[in-house]
Each structure stands twice: as structure tokens, then as C-alpha cells.
């Protein structure tokens, strides 16, 4: 990936037309941004689309003071409650009669997520006559997982998911990439990730994240499984929760990023 490869999600959303079903998942949900800005864009170009937003239940409750007269009325807004952890995936699926577009990434459905954050997004676009991408297949698997675990109760939405799944089941998966979406519906993501790494010794671990837990537990978990010499952190300037940064240096590769050597793991 070139550092100059940028995507404007708002422009992307404006380009997609004639979708039948639009499924958007997010952890944090901003009704003002979605109802006031995103929804009108989606409605303008996808007049008959069924729009479904899946959001973490805790964030759904926090967003309640910002519900507008359209929130969850002019589209389906489904809170998802997991037994363990939070519902944190961010993917956007647009299905039309002959095309599927997906975005899998890190952007929440919020003004901050769409404008200010340095987010990563994989975009795929496939003609249904050709088949479906591995990303689409992975998304459908996640949706099926939500249904089978009875995390969605809205009958209309269940019916829509079932219809999408049935329609795509017979389609050929055309990408050759070994793409997976790891989710935490069954098992925590960290243990799945660690189990899939074939090597156990590395020169460097590069961690790209804005927020870090104060007890550094996830890092400890990684270091207990893998032998790593250096850890490098990639942070977005003025958008992280590390309070005391002493050894900041500007990255040569990413203008938006600063990278930080925090510790030397002996």
C-alpha cells in the first residue's frame, strides 16, 4: 500500500447507486452524523434500499441523547449485545441487483471516523455475474454468525440477511487473496490471531492503534506467546491516549503518523 493511497468514504458512499440492501456495522454510532449527513446521501442514490445499521449495544445506549426523529425509524438500527466484549467490527456492505461493494476497515459511523481519524479501509467491488470477493464472503459469514447466535431479533432484518445469504451462496468466490475477518463472536480475537502466526520469533512488532489499555495486558499477551526484539508504535498525531511521549520522532513514511519506540524487549 502506498502512503498516498487515500480514500474519501463520503465520496465513496455518494458514488454507490441503486443498492437494494445496505448493511453498515459500527462500534460507535453518531445519530447526528448518520441521520443528518450519511442517510440523506444514501437515500438520494439508493431510493428503494433497506438500510441496516448494526451497533454495539453499549454505544447504542450512549447515543440515545442524540437520537433524532429519524433514528431507527427511517432505517433499521440494531443494537448488538455480545456475551463477552463489545461489538466492534466496521464493515459497509452495499448490494444491488448486479454488483456488490464492500468496505472493511476501522472507521466508525461518526464524523470523527469519516473525516479526522487515520483509518484503514479495504474496498472491493465485484460484479455478481463474475462471483463475489473473499471480503464479501467473510462479511456474509459474520452476518450469518450473528443470526445463528440469535444476536439479531428483528424479523425483517433476519429475512433480509437470509435473502442475501441465499442469493450469494451459489456464487463463486473469485479473489485469490487469503482474506479473513477475525471476529469475537466466539473466541477473543487476540488468541485467534496468535494461533495463526506460524513463526514465534520476530525482529520487530509494529503496533498501529490509537488507544492503549493502561495495564498493557494485550501487549503482555503477545509477548508471552512470541519472542520480539523491538516494538514500534504508530500513532496519529493528536489522536491517541498515550499521555507522556518522550521519544517521539516523525515517521519518514507517513506524514500523518508519528512513530514511537517505547521499549526494548530483551
Amino acid at each position: 500500500m502506498d502512503a498516498n493511497d487515500r480514500i474519501n468514504l463520503i465520496e465513496e458512499f455518494s458514488k454507490i447507486k441503486n443498492s437494494h440492501v445496505i448493511v453498515l456495522t459500527t462500534f460507535n454510532f453518531d445519530p447526528f452524523f448518520f441521520d443528518g449527513f450519511v442517510l440523506p446521501i444514501l437515500e438520494k442514490h439508493n431510493r428503494s434500499a433497506q438500510i441496516i445499521v448494526l451497533v454495539d449495544e453499549g454505544q447504542y445506549s450512549l447515543a440515545y441523547p442524540r437520537f433524532t426523529n429519524r433514528t431507527g425509524i427511517d432505517y433499521h438500527l440494531i443494537p448488538i449485545r455480545l456475551n463477552q466484549g463489545v461489538f466492534h467490527p466496521k464493515f459497509f456492505l452495499f448490494t444491488s441487483k448486479d454488483e456488490i461493494t464492500t468496505f472493511v476497515g476501522s472507521s466508525n459511523l461518526s464524523l470523527q471516523g469519516f473525516t479526522n481519524n487515520a483509518e484503514l479501509v479495504i474496498k472491493t467491488q465485484t460484479k455478481l455475474d463474475d462471483g463475489i470477493s473473499t471480503e464479501t464472503k467473510a462479511i456474509i459469514d459474520v452476518l450469518n454468525g450473528l443470526v445463528s447466535k440469535k444476536l439479531i431479533h428483528d424479523n425483517h432484518v433476519l429475512e433480509l440477511f437470509s435473502r442475501i445469504s441465499d442469493t450469494l451462496a451459489s456464487k463463486l468466490v473469485i479473489s485469490s487473496d487469503d482474506f479473513q475477518i477475525l471476529h469475537n463472536l466466539d473466541i477473543p480475537i487476540m488468541s485467534q490471531m496468535l494461533s495463526q502466526i506460524p513463526e514465534k520469533t520476530f525482529e520487530k512488532l509494529f503496533v498501529l492503534a490509537p488507544f492503549f489499555s493502561s495495564d498493557a495486558k494485550p501487549l503482555s499477551e503477545i509477548l508471552s506467546e512470541l519472542k520480539i526484539k523491538d516494538i514500534e508504535f504508530g500513532l496519529q498525531k493528536q489522536n491517541h491516549n498515550l499521555k507522556n511521549i518522550d521519544n517521539v520522532r516523525k515517521s519518514q513514511r507517513q506524514k500523518m503518523l508519528i512513530s514511537l519506540f517505547l521499549q526494548h524487549n530483551s
Partner: protein, 545 residues
């Protein structure tokens, strides 16, 4: 992208870089200043621009370029003042700085698009000519009245250079009469425009300017009646709007006549006399007589100015704290940014009483009730809205600012019930259908009433949350129309600064300056060390007193 290709991207950063106007979406409260001086806007500050556009309607055709006339006007004005755009006589001329650097070196100037102008002279004034019954465009063709012709005829202007793309410096000499300062001595222009501005028009066909003004009404019998309602028959719209403007202009002149404010304080004086009905210098009551009805509209307006300014000052606290905490502030604990001791000390200074961190909003209300007559606005009171607004403008401490805001809200809540409710009703209706507007004055005061048992600290936290929500709503709504004006964003309970320049928060009283300037241009008032009525102004006042 091929049909099966996947690509990984960084998202593009989108900067908030639009001009920030009405960041809370509450300027609908301030429409009195639009409704009660029709034909005068915040940017229509010089009589000559009205005349210039009237001249264009009379003498040029639709195929002619109005910007050429505006360019000639700017150039001739500059020429008349040796190219000095800062000359006192030529204030409020658009694009006058364009040749500031090379005026002396140039021998000629472009009249075509090489001289890039904003065209504001046309944009801002033509619409107002319609409201003055001079000229308008019905979508097919322009229409002009005798009123327009009379105004246009006061300007002597040869138009042969308007067909050219250049004009030499020496040729500009023949256009000295076009300079804006010529209107100071152009008695015809002053007389005609005065009558138009004050609405002395015959609306019969053909529409024309009334004769014998002011002599006709010097017995004080001039009609000042207006309905104040917006639901009136089409054929009386113009009469109603004219009367509103006329009332406002006479009210302004009455205040000047009663107080003779100093040149530097005339605006504050106008605001305060309207709101407190007092002479700020002597504290004596002022009787507005026939103008009492219009004063009540502007009193409501001033009240809403205080309300909007107070709400925007909370936003100011938010933006300034966020600039100090660029990695974000948790919204639900925003007040943790405040130094509690400083907060408490500020209260004690402002209210001259012992307020502590655990004091309730009801305690503050009781203290204010014991110290001042909160039901009646008075400049003699130790705490009043104007003094609080002045303090708000001058303090840089968030703690002190929040204390002043809380006191101001308490005062405004008490005043609310004593305002003319019929007038207030029309200007306090929320314009938003999608949300219950939390910052609408009525909704806000209901919230205030329901929060009296909150501690001052908790109430302040709730204020911050309300203001942040409304700004986030408004910025998302505006973004739909392409405006990127967010001062901050929010995600996962954290507020983040947008990184834009500090947005200056000012009171939104924006009609007094143009009224003042137009009354100077029409020689109704004069500004020496003090602002006073001219002999002409005094004579005109006899029409209503």
C-alpha cells in the same frame, strides 16, 4: 479497479475549513433584526451603493455588465482620495484595497475581469432596492419605478467608459462625482434617499416618492402603525415592512436625541436604552411614546442576543479547553478540566457571596434574588445583562467564564416571563424538525427550571453536554450542504478539536452599524465628539412627536 480487485487505503483527512456562522444553529432567534429593518442588512452600509444600483437599472440594459460600473465606482473613489483605501471618507467600499500596492505606478486600470471584484455592491444592494420599491427582476425582465428613476437621477454619470476594458488614470478625473464622498454634498441624493429609506412613498400607480416631506407631518400626525404579524394580505406587505423600518429608524434617532452618546459608545447606548429603557448616563427612564411598540420588539431581540451570546460562550469554553487537550477530552467528565477552587472563587467575586462547590443552582437563584430585582432589568443593578456580557467578553479564564454564564442564565430566566410574550413567541420557535432543539430558548429554560436541585458544577457539566450535542448536530447538518464548520468532533465519548483556527465568539447584533452609517449618510445624525441629531434629524423627529 478491476471487478475482483481489493485495495487497502488510508482514509483521507477532511479539514473543517468553512467559515463558522451560527455554530449552534440558533440564529433563528435573531430574526427580528431581519424583519424589522427590511432593506437594510448587516452589509448595506452606504447610501451611494443604493444609488449606484438604481442608476444601473435606469441607464443600462440586462446585457450590460454591472461589475464594470462597480469597478469604475471603486476606481473613481480611490482616485478622488489619491489611491488611499484607508481614507475615512471611503469606509465600507468593497474591494478598495485591490490596487493598494501599485496605485502610484499605474497609469491605467482594468474595467474588465482582470480587476477581480467580489461584486458585493451588486449582490448585497440589488435585493434591497426591491424592498424599497425601486427595482426588481421578475425572472423574465427587470422592472423599475419612478422611485428608482428619482434616485438614479441624483447621480450625474457619463457612461462612455463602461464599454471599454481599460480606463486611464487621467480619465478617472472626470468621474469625481462618482466618488462615495460626493454623496456628502449631493443634496438631491440625500433628500431622495432619505424619503425612500423612511418609506415616504406613494404606492399608487405609478409608484412615486411623497412630496412635502417632512412639512406634511410636522404636526406629529405621521402614521407609525404596524401590525407585527406576518400573516397579512399581499397588498399590505410593503406598507407593513415600510412601517417597521420607519419605526426602527425613528427609534434609533430618538435614542440618539435623548442621550447624545459619545462617538465610541453609541452602539452600547442604543442596546442599553432599548433593553433597560434608561439613559445610561443619568439612569433616568426614557419614555418612548409612540415608539414603545417597536422598542418592545427590539427589547425581545436584545434579550435573544444575550441568550445566543451566552450559549455561544459555552461553546467558546469548549473550544478553548480542547485546544489545550489536543488528544481529546472525555465529554462526560469535561468539568474535570476546571480548577474547582478557581470556579468557587469566581462565583464569590461575581456574586459577592459564599458559594461553594456543593451549592445548588437554587442557591444561586436565591442569592441573586436577594441582591437584585431580577424581575426588572435595570442598569442601576449591581449585576445586569450588559455588565455580564462585557465581563464575558473580557475574561480568558474558563472558570470565571462559566460562573458569569450561570449568573447570566439565572437572570435571563427571570426576565423571560416579563418580556412581551406575543413577540417572543414568534422568535422562539425552533426551526428543526429532526430533533427537539435543546438550545431553543423555551426548551432551554424548561431544562433550567428542572435543574434547580443540581449542583452548580453538575449543571455546568450538563450545559457543556447540551452545547456539544447541538454543535455536533448542526455541523453534521451543515456538512450535508457542503459546509465544513465543525469546531470539534466526538467519538466514543471523547471530544477532539478540529484543528481549525479559534472561532471568535461575538454578540450577533448586526443591524445598528448599517443603520448608524445610513443615518450619517442621510444627514439625520452627526458624529463629532458625541453623536447627535442634525437640524434635519430634529425636524424629522417632529413628524412623530
Amino acid at each position: 479497479m478491476s471487478v475482483s480487485e481489493s485495495r487497502l487505503y488510508w482514509t483521507q483527512k477532511i479539514k473543517s475549513n468553512s467559515r463558522v456562522l451560527d455554530p449552534l444553529g440558533i440564529f433563528y432567534h435573531l430574526k427580528i433584526q431581519t424583519d424589522y429593518v427590511p432593506a437594510i442588512t448587516s452589509v448595506t452600509r452606504r447610501m451611494r451603493y443604493y444609488t449606484l444600483q438604481a442608476w444601473f437599472f435606469k441607464n443600462m440594459t440586462e446585457n450590460d455588465n454591472p461589475h464594470k460600473l462597480e469597478r469604475l465606482f471603486i476606481l473613481s473613489t480611490l482616485f478622488h482620495h489619491d489611491g488611499n483605501p484607508s481614507h475615512n471618507s471611503i469606509s465600507h467600499i468593497f474591494n478598495k484595497q485591490y490596487f493598494e500596492k501599485d496605485w502610484n505606478e499605474r497609469n491605467s486600470f482594468p474595467l474588465n475581469s482582470d480587476f477581480k471584484i467580489s461584486g458585493f455592491g451588486r449582490t448585497y444592494y440589488v435585493r434591497q432596492l426591491e424592498r424599497l420599491r425601486c427595482a426588481w427582476h421578475d425572472g423574465l425582465k427587470p422592472h423599475t419605478t419612478m422611485i428608482n428613476d428619482d434616485l438614479a437621477s441624483t447621480l450625474t454619470l457619463e457612461n462612455h467608459h463602461l464599454n471599454q476594458d481599460q480606463i486611464s488614470k487621467s480619465d478617472l478625473a472626470q468621474y469625481s462625482k462618482l466618488c462615495i464622498c460626493d454623496s456628502e454634498t449631493n443634496e438631491d441624493e440625500i433628500e431622495v434617499f432619505s424619503k425612500i429609506l423612511f418609506g415616504f412613498l406613494n404606492l399608487e400607480s405609478p409608484e412615486s416618492i411623497e412630496d412635502n416631506i417632512p412639512d406634511k407631518y410636522l404636526d406629529g400626525t405621521m402614521d407609525l402603525v404596524f401590525s407585527g404579524i406576518d400573516d397579512f394580505p399581499d397588498d399590505s406587505i410593503h406598507q407593513e415592512l415600510t412601517q417597521r423600518r420607519r419605526n426602527t429608524l425613528f427609534m434609533f434617532m430618538k435614542i440618539i436625541d435623548q442621550v447624545n452618546p459619545s462617538k465610541n459608545e453609541w452602539k452600547e447606548t442604543v442596546m442599553n436604552v432599548i433593553y433597560y429603557k434608561q439613559n445610561p448616563l443619568t439612569k433616568n427612564k426614557i419614555n418612548f411614546g409612540k415608539l414603545e411598540k417597536i422598542r418592545q420588539y427590539w427589547e425581545v431581540h436584545q434579550y435573544l442576543i444575550y441568550f445566543v451570546f451566552t450559549m455561544e460562550s459555552i461553546l467558546d469554553i469548549l473550544q478553548k479547553q480542547l485546544r489545550k487537550n489536543v488528544n481529546g477530552i472525555e465529554l462526560k467528565n469535561f468539568m474535570d478540566c476546571f480548577q474547582r477552587d478557581k470556579f468557587q472563587d469566581s462565583f464569590n467575586v461575581i456574586t459577592n457571596s459564599r458559594i461553594n462547590q456543593k451549592s445548588f443552582l437554587s442557591d444561586l437563584i436565591s442569592i441573586l434574588d436577594s441582591k437584585i430585582d431580577t424581575n426588572h432589568a435595570s442598569m442601576e443593578s449591581p449585576i445586569h445583562e450588559y455588565s455580564l456580557m462585557t465581563s464575558l467578553k473580557h475574561t480568558s479564564s474558563s472558570e470565571e467564564k462559566m460562573c458569569i454564564i450561570l449568573v447570566m442564565i439565572c437572570l435571563l430566566r427571570q426576565r423571560l416571563d416579563h418580556l412581551p410574550q406575543e413577540i417572543l413567541k414568534n422568535y422562539s420557535q425552533s426551526e428543526f424538525k429532526d430533533i427537539d432543539d435543546e438550545i431553543n430558548v423555551n426548551n432551554f429554560m424548561t431544562f433550567f427550571d428542572e435543574s434547580k436541585s443540581s449542583t452548580l458544577f453538575d449543571f455546568s457539566q450538563k450545559l457543556i453536554e447540551k452545547i456539544s450535542r447541538k454543535h455536533l448536530f448542526e455541523s453534521s447538518r451543515r456538512y450535508r450542504f457542503g459546509t465544513k464548520n465543525w469546531i470539534f468532533t466526538e467519538e466514543e465519548g471523547l471530544l477532539y478539536p478540529s484543528g481549525r483556527k479559534l472561532v471568535r465568539i461575538n454578540e450577533r447584533n448586526n443591524r445598528w452599524n448599517p443603520i448608524y452609517n445610513l443615518l450619517l449618510d442621510t444627514k439625520m445624525i452627526q458624529n463629532e465628539s458625541n453623536v447627535t441629531l442634525t437640524e434635519k434629524g430634529k425636524t424629522w423627529m417632529q413628524m412623530i412627536e
